[in-house]
């Protein structure tokens, strides 16, 4: 279909507008992260898009090397929150993916009735706050408050329904003949799962894991409630980047935000080819 020129112009104008609106905050963060205090704390006409004296001061600051210009000193550096975020998100993703994949395979291949899959997704119908307070009490009894492992377990539970549903869809789509072919050749079910099913599911596993990881990585609420000091995560730590003298430390926040954006981007690039395959999954001619 051939569209008229005005229509095409309008279309591209709209696309550019939407891209601009969604990119401005990200680009602003990028610019802020490299601005010295005088520039990021300026106001009005003194605010510029491009840092006039680019500096790594903000990064040095959050890692504890206080520069002369920043008169506040931090109670703790960003190193530990970054580690807390990584540990909790990665272990949480592993828990959700392991349990979710196993449950999805079982229900996809041997499940009878439809209640269990629905019940699992209902975990997500609760408002998180409704369960978080009782959970906090349970966790404090177990000594899991302010502990990366306690956080990871909650992350695993919270994202399990997503891992389960994503994987179940992929397992449902996988032709059963492939497994039957392997079984008929004399393999046990467990071996077929390990040697045939899982390797063929690699694209599905990769895209589900990325999805679950991003959910865990970007969590603020759960970490806010379950961590207090030693194991706060990046989003929680970020709120502490302010001082009574200078107010919000926007430069430091921008620098931390930039760091926080790195793992999902790297993961996304690493599994890019799987992401496409994950969507067009299907080993056979139907």
């Amino acid at each position: 279909m051939r569209r008229s020129l005005p229509f095409e112009l309008l279309r591209y104008a709209m696309i550019l507008l939407i891209i601009a609106i969604s990119l401005v905050p990200t680009l602003w963060m990028l610019s802020m992260a490299f601005k010295p205090i005088a520039e990021w704390s300026a106001s009005g006409a003194a605010l510029t898009w491009w840092p006039e004296n680019p500096t790594l001061d903000n990064f040095r600051f959050i890692f504890g090397q206080s520069s002369s210009e920043l008169i506040v000193s931090l109670e703790r550096t960003a190193a530990r929150p970054i580690m807390a975020s990584l540990l909790a998100a990665i272990v949480g993703t592993l828990i959700a993916m392991t349990a979710g994949t196993a449950a999805a395979y079982g229900l996809s291949r041997f499940g009878k009735g439809n209640n269990l899959p629905l019940a699992l997704i209902q975990l997500r119908l609760f408002p998180p706050m409704a369960v978080m307070i009782p959970l906090m009490i349970m966790w404090s009894f177990l000594g899991l408050i302010d502990n990366w492992f306690g956080l990871a377990v909650v992350y695993g539970i919270v994202t399990l329904p997503f891992a389960f549903w994503l994987m179940k869809t992929f397992f449902d789509d996988m032709p059963r003949e492939i497994e039957d072919a392997a079984l008929v050749e004399g393999c046990t079910r467990l071996r077929v799962f390990a040697v045939i099913t899982l390797p063929m599911m690699r694209p599905a596993l990769a895209s589900s894991a990325l999805f679950v990881f991003i959910m865990n990585w970007s969590d603020y609420l759960i970490a806010l409630l379950l961590t207090t000091r030693d194991w706060v995560t990046i989003p929680v730590y970020m709120t502490s980047l302010s001082s009574s003298m200078t107010g919000q430390l926007y430069g430091a926040k921008a620098a931390l935000g930039l760091i926080a954006a790195i793992p999902p981007v790297i993961l996304g690039i690493a599994i890019q080819k799987h992401l496409v395959r994950g969507l067009t999954f299907g080993a056979l001619k139907e």
């Binding site: 003949e177 039957d180 072919a181 392997a182 008929v184 050749e185 004399g186 046990t188 056979l284």
Partner: protein, 364 residues
């Protein structure tokens, strides 16, 4: 080398009967084709032999030993799927070696057999390529090779050629037959393509709606269909079936075919004669048996002329009657609207009961 015996085999999915009362014995080293339209129960039968589906009644025996309790991984059958079921994350070599590895065959023996099979199926050049990018034709060869390499006593093929292109299909037909001769396995072949069944099978089992209608050699099935469905299904085009009424003449009984005229006096077998004929019959004759004859006592208008190269198919009919004639191109071809007068050799006429659809008198 194994004989397969199905006795009173049946499968119900809920209230739907996929297969009922199937009795069939497949001899050691025999090539049997299960032939029928989609949904006739042929794949269900095959899946029960392989152990992927449990029957709801009846028994399956390999060499007089019931195997209903034997899990599919220990039945020792090879199975080729319609959609190949190739392990796309492995190379061609790994695919071929898979079954041998599962059986714990030593590495050197494994190599030898994989190479021999690759040679036989012309897969050697792509042995170390990943299976993911291969063409449909190669995938199907690979699927056959992967099952054949373990040399199963029973080889089951479920419509293996229905996705490959026509030229390759004819190549594979002869290769499959050669492969089976070489290994002389007991082979069950599910297909809806009668050409495959006719060209490869020792015996054909024709099925429809979960019932086994007739078992016989390709020629038996073609010449003496026991059922009006088999008559229509086998042959391309299938047998013409016209409704008729038995009438008498000086030369004996014949069939009145209403507007199509009357048949020549019937050449009834002793059995049909002694059985007696119902008043109404279905009058069957092969399109190839239509014999243009200016003095023929049968006549039908020509509706459509279909040229297929060496031969021409005439679509005949009118007044609710439909028939086809296959003629050699050498003869003068009538054109649309002409009346074709023809005769049928009485020996080539097959009669069926209009109610039960069963052939009258067996071989006439």
């Amino acid at each position: 080398m194994t004989q397969i015996a199905l006795s009173n085999l049946g499968k119900k999915f809920g209230s739907f009967t996929a297969l009922a009362q199937m009795n069939l014995t497949i001899g050691d080293g025999e090539f049997v084709a299960l032939l029928g339209p989609s949904g006739c129960g042929k794949s269900t039968t095959m899946n029960m032999i392989a152990g992927m589906v449990d029957p709801t009644e009846g028994d399956i025996r390999f060499d007089d030993r019931s195997i209903l309790d034997v899990p599919m991984s220990r039945r020792g059958v090879g199975f080729v799927f319609q959609n190949y079921a190739i392990f796309t994350h492995m190379s061609v070599r790994e695919n071929l070696a898979y079954g041998l590895r599962a059986q714990g065959v030593s590495a050197s023996e494994r190599n030898r057999r994989v190479n021999a099979m690759a040679d036989l199926l012309q897969l050697t050049p792509m042995l170390d390529r990943r299976a993911a990018g291969l063409s449909v034709n190669i995938l199907q060869r690979l699927a056959i090779g992967r099952s054949a390499v373990v040399e199963p006593a029973i080889f089951l093929l479920d419509e293996p050629l229905s996705n490959v292109d026509a030229a390759f299909r004819s190549v594979m037909r002869s290769e499959l037959k050669a492969l089976q001769r070489q290994f002389s396995q007991t082979l069950v072949y599910v297909t809806h393509d009668q050409l495959e069944a006719m060209t490869m099978a020792d015996r054909i089992a024709v099925m429809d709606h979960g019932k086994l209608l007739q078992v016989g050699t390709p020629l038996e099935i073609y010449n003496n269909p026991q059922d009006v469905f088999v008559a229509r299904f086998i042959g391309s085009p299938g047998m013409n079936i016209l409704e008729g009424t038995i009438a008498s003449s000086d030369e004996g009984k014949l069939v009145d075919l209403a507007s199509a005229g009357r048949s020549a006096p019937l050449a009834l077998s002793d059995r049909a004669a002694s059985q007696g004929l119902p008043e109404k019959v279905l009058f069957g004759f092969r399109p190839e048996q239509v014999n243009p004859d200016p003095n023929g006592i049968m006549a039908l208008p020509v509706n459509f002329v279909e040229r297929i190269g060496a031969r021409t198919i005439l679509h005949l009919g009118g007044d609710g009657i439909e028939a086809k004639a296959v003629l050699d191109n050498q003869i003068a071809m009538p054109s649309i609207g002409d009346i074709l007068r023809f005769s049928i050799d009485p020996k080539m006429v097959r009669l069926f009961d209009p109610v039960s659809g069963i052939a009258i008198g067996g071989d006439i």
